[in-house]
Amino acid sequence: MLLSTKNILGTKELTKQDIQQILDTADSFKEISTRAIKKVPTLRGKTIINLFFEPSTRTRTSFEIAGKRLSADVINISGSTSSTVKGENLIDTARNLEAMNPDILVVRHQCSGAPALLSQFVDCPIINGGDGSHEHPSQALLDLLTIRSQKGDLEGLKVAIVGDISHSRVARSNIKAMQTMGMKVCVVGPPPLIPPEFESLGVEVSHNLREAVKDVDVVMVLRIQLERQNQGLLSSLREYSNYFCLTSESLAKARDDVLIIHPGPVNRGVEIALDVMESPRSLILNQVTSGVAIRMALFYLLLGENNANPN
């Protein structure tokens, strides 16, 4: 069965069935990464281009490993090595790459909507690897996979997302995907980082971390960008931490089996305390492992019926 969409631009466009299928496929791929020879020939002869206009280690590496485990040829192009520094327009860059017949373009860009723009000008499928403050769908999917592997079922779970909601593509992708899967979301942070419009997205808004984590199944902590302080959105990181750092103390009222996730990279001691990060409730490294499986699943499903059996 194919996905309902040709591109993965956001979780907003994914149906419940799509998400289930991606998670199931990812589950079946997990085992490959545990083999001594971590490679299957599924996408042999396919070319995947990672076009990253914004710095990234984790996401780019994860896409690269995912492609290589499926035997695809993966090429990485970063913003600084691409022609855009010479003034080439984004669309021209993508068209030139497409002329070399890649099978998938993974795009990360600092501007919201850049992958959507590209999708109008190239024929091959595009995966949004994170665009501005808009979406980061593969991150949300790997978060769901991580949660599902612990909880078994997503339906009815309650999640608190803590941090800079306003600028977070991870939050937006997760809110939409979680709502599609029947989960409840509460966003937590200081008012300058949560515009009032978020309530109309159907999420609860809280400015009190201790209370907000009381009855949730999962706490997702977001990275605080250091530059928000200079933009006047935060008085200081110290003050932010006083109210919103996830510590054993702020988790006092939380359930014992609450899961802690974080998309990384972590500012230790700013948004999450070291002991919480390293406690058994923390799934931060499981997320990274899930990431490879999710991206393998996306590649496999987007290249659709031309594929051999996943094993």
Partner: protein, 431 residues
């Protein structure tokens, strides 16, 4: 040379004329306006006849807010292509904003614009001079010299005059020349990095918003200054319902403030930005249904004085890019009439009032001896059929640029002829 326009419905709000009249034009001037069939045959014997049956005959429209990009950005528009676009939209007079390169902040640029306009010879071009030198918001431009060389108002359009002291002095000094200061009302501190209205759509799209308060606060500030300084304030392209209310209150107190609205601000909302359509990126940004309702109320009760298009042509290279990086603006001249007529369809205003907003009112505010079909005046005339349906196709625009979010819209109201000083500058090839 004689031209007879006969059998049309003449709407000339400047002279309170609305009815079935014939118009005789001689040597570029209005020679006679008389009830249909009443101009004597001897007078019209050699006249070229335009049959305007079923059409409205009105003074040529006057758009007090366009960007023709010359000098400096001729790849987007020139005075020639902009004039052709104006003529195709039924406009016989336009006021061109000074954000060219170089900026129109001195006599030499004003004179260049006027000489290019003369060479083109299609529509009447009225330059607007900068309020501050180089639009930098630092020092006042030489307002006297600008007026003497032909400017009809002052504006830093595209950029607001942020410095309150400087705006105060601009309003004070411009009193000497009795020309309006036109403000692009936007508190930049609130819109830094913004590219669309701040609201639910910007939140979903992850785009930085421009809150409506940025407009309201600037309008409030300028009105406060105006009370102290005198002078004349004209609020450009009002897009906020709150700002309409502020202008209404100021007018009630008798302050010399006027304002304009662009057709996109009463026909489109922020929803048009979904899918990151850069043709819907403008400044001020498209707002909400609530703002549109308040703007329509402002048009109905006369708070909003005129319709101006903010015609802002941009090349594909400036629009076919990331939403954050795209230029602000829309091609406005060739869609203004049908979009304005929507207000008539919705019974917000009458057809006479629609013509008034596009002719007599702008000329009243800017002291132009235009926008009238009075005998002896320049024969600037538009003939349009308010009922003709058509589909908007930006590829057919005469403008050099095609950035319009109205592609594919089914609208009514087609310009058939535009005359400037009696000379035909546009004829619909199907007419």
């Amino acid at each position: 040379m004689l031209t007879l326009i006969k059998g049309g419905r003449v709407i000339d709000p400047a002279n309170q004329v609305d009815g079935s009249f014939d118009i005789l034009i001689s040597d570029g001037k209005i020679e006679a306006v008389a009830p249909h069939g009443k101009i004597s045959g001897s007078k019209t014997k050699d006249a070229q006849v335009i049959d305007a049956k079923g059409c409205v005959v009105a003074p040529g429209f006057c758009d007090m807010h366009v960007h023709f990009r010359e000098p400096g950005h001729e790849y987007k528009e020139t005075i020639e292509t902009g004039s052709a676009s104006a003529a195709a939209g039924g406009f016989s007079s336009v006021a061109v904003m000074p954000n060219t390169s170089p900026v129109n902040d001195n006599r030499s640029v004003t004179e260049l614009i006027l000489s290019q306009a003369k060479k083109t010879g299609l529509v009447n071009i009225y330059p607007i001079g900068a309020i501050t030198k180089g639009l930098k918001g630092e020092t006042l431009s030489d307002m006297g010299e600008l007026k003497e060389s032909g400017c009809i108002g002052y504006s830093d359009d595209g950029k607001p005059v942020m410095d309150s002291e400087l705006m105060r002095r601009a309003l004070e000094y411009s009193r000497m020349f009795d020309l309006p200061c036109i403000q692009h009302s936007e508190i930049l501190d609130l819109t830094r990095g913004g590219c669309m209205n701040e609201g639910i759509v910007s939140t979903e799209l992850g785009l930085k918003g421009m809150p409506v308060e940025a407009e309201d606060i600037m309008v409030f500030r300028d009105i406060s200054l105006l009370r102290k300084t005198g002078g004349r304030l004209h609020v450009a392209h009002i897009s906020s319902g709150g700002a309409v209310d502020l202008v209404r209150q100021a007018k009630a107190k008798g302050l010399p403030v006027t304002c304009e609205v662009a057709p996109h601000h009463f026909t489109l909302t922020e929803e048009a930005c979904r899918n990151y359509d850069t043709n819907a990126k403008m400044s001020p940004p498209l707002r909400t249904d609530e703002d549109i309702d308040l703007i329509k109320e402002g048009i109905r009760d006369g708070t909003i004085d005129i319709i101006a298009t903010d015609h802002a042509p941009h090349d594909l290279a400036d629009k076919q890019v990331e939403f954050d990086n795209a230029c602000f603006g829309i091609v406005g001249l060739e869609t203004a009439l049908p979009l304005t007529l929507k207000l008539v369809d919705e019974k917000i205003i009458t057809l006479q009032k629609a013509v008034d907003l596009l002719t007599h009112q702008p000329c009243r505010i800017f002291n132009l001896d235009k926008g009238t079909l009075g005998v002896g005046k320049d024969a600037d005339v538009v003939i349009f059929n308010p009922d003709t349906k058509f589909t908007i196709d930006p590829e057919k625009f005469k403008s050099r640029s095609k950035n319009s979010p109205y592609k594919g819209w089914q609208v009514r109201g087609k310009v058939l002829h535009t005359l400037v000083a009696g000379k035909s500058v546009y004829s619909d090839h199907n007419a």
